[in-house]
């Protein structure tokens, strides 16, 4: 079994780059791989707790909680997140907050890295 690190930068709702990252992580962890996800840029918005699930809008919270429960490590860029006004106390429980070197450390440990850019 391998180790996959995903860097996800595009923003949450309706941006399919984000949706792709989460579904890929789920597929990988379900096959027994070790998976970590790094959120930077606009994707950090998705760590805010209490997202309302409206059917016209994709939401991240329940998917992130499911991934955490399966053992996926998830970390948000703290600077990006607080710049958007979201404090750690307002975040989804279990998601880590750290600086950019967290991502580089996970890259060091990874067999495969997928960096998804875009907004």
């Amino acid at each position: 079994m391998g180790t996959l690190t995903i860097g996800c930068f595009p923003s949450i709702v309706g941006n399919m780059g984000y949706d792709f990252a989460l579904k890929l992580a789920d597929a990988a962890v379900s096959k027994g791989h070790k998976v970590s996800i790094w959120f930077s840029g606009n994707a950090t918005v998705s760590v805010k707790a209490h997202q309302k699930h409206l059917k016209d809008y994709s939401t991240a919270e329940k998917y992130l909680q499911a991934l955490l429960a399966k053992g996926v490590e998830i970390c948000t860029c703290e600077a990006c997140t607080v710049a958007r006004g979201i404090q750690k106390t307002e975040g989804i429980e279990g998601i880590q907050w750290n600086a950019m070197h967290w991502y580089l450390a996970k890259i060091h440990a990874a067999d495969r890295v997928l960096q998804i850019g875009g907004e």
């Binding site: 780059g17 792709f20 890929l24 789920d26 067999d111 998804i116």
Partner: protein, 98 residues
């Protein structure tokens, strides 16, 4: 270098793919990249399909667009998320998202 590249757009705004050299190149068409596999533009297939024999398209991103597996060019293999994970770990060393 065995490089697997995700293509997520119809119009690539970068020409990186034209310049990259890889011992083995795989193209995994996702999101609006699936149209390279399903749609001809003015009757012509996408030139991406000539780049390599290792072509894949994500089934989930085909069906969300109202397209069917039968719309997919015969050179392209239809895969799901689970297959994509296997491709990433077994067939390629480096992965890029362009």
């Amino acid at each position: 270098m065995k490089l697997g590249v995700f293509v997520s757009d119809i119009n690539l705004t970068v020409d990186t793919l034209d310049r990259l050299k890889a011992d083995k190149l795989g193209l995994i068409l996702v999101q609006n990249g699936v149209y390279h596999a399903t749609s001809k533009v003015n009757g012509k297939s996408s030139s991406l399909l000539d780049k390599t024999p290792n072509l894949y398209v994500l089934s989930e991103d085909v069906t969300i667009r109202g397209l069917k597996d039968t719309d997919v060019d015969s050179r392209v293999k239809v895969v799901n998320y689970s297959d994509v994970v296997d491709l990433m770990f077994n067939d390629y060393d480096q992965i890029a998202w362009l």
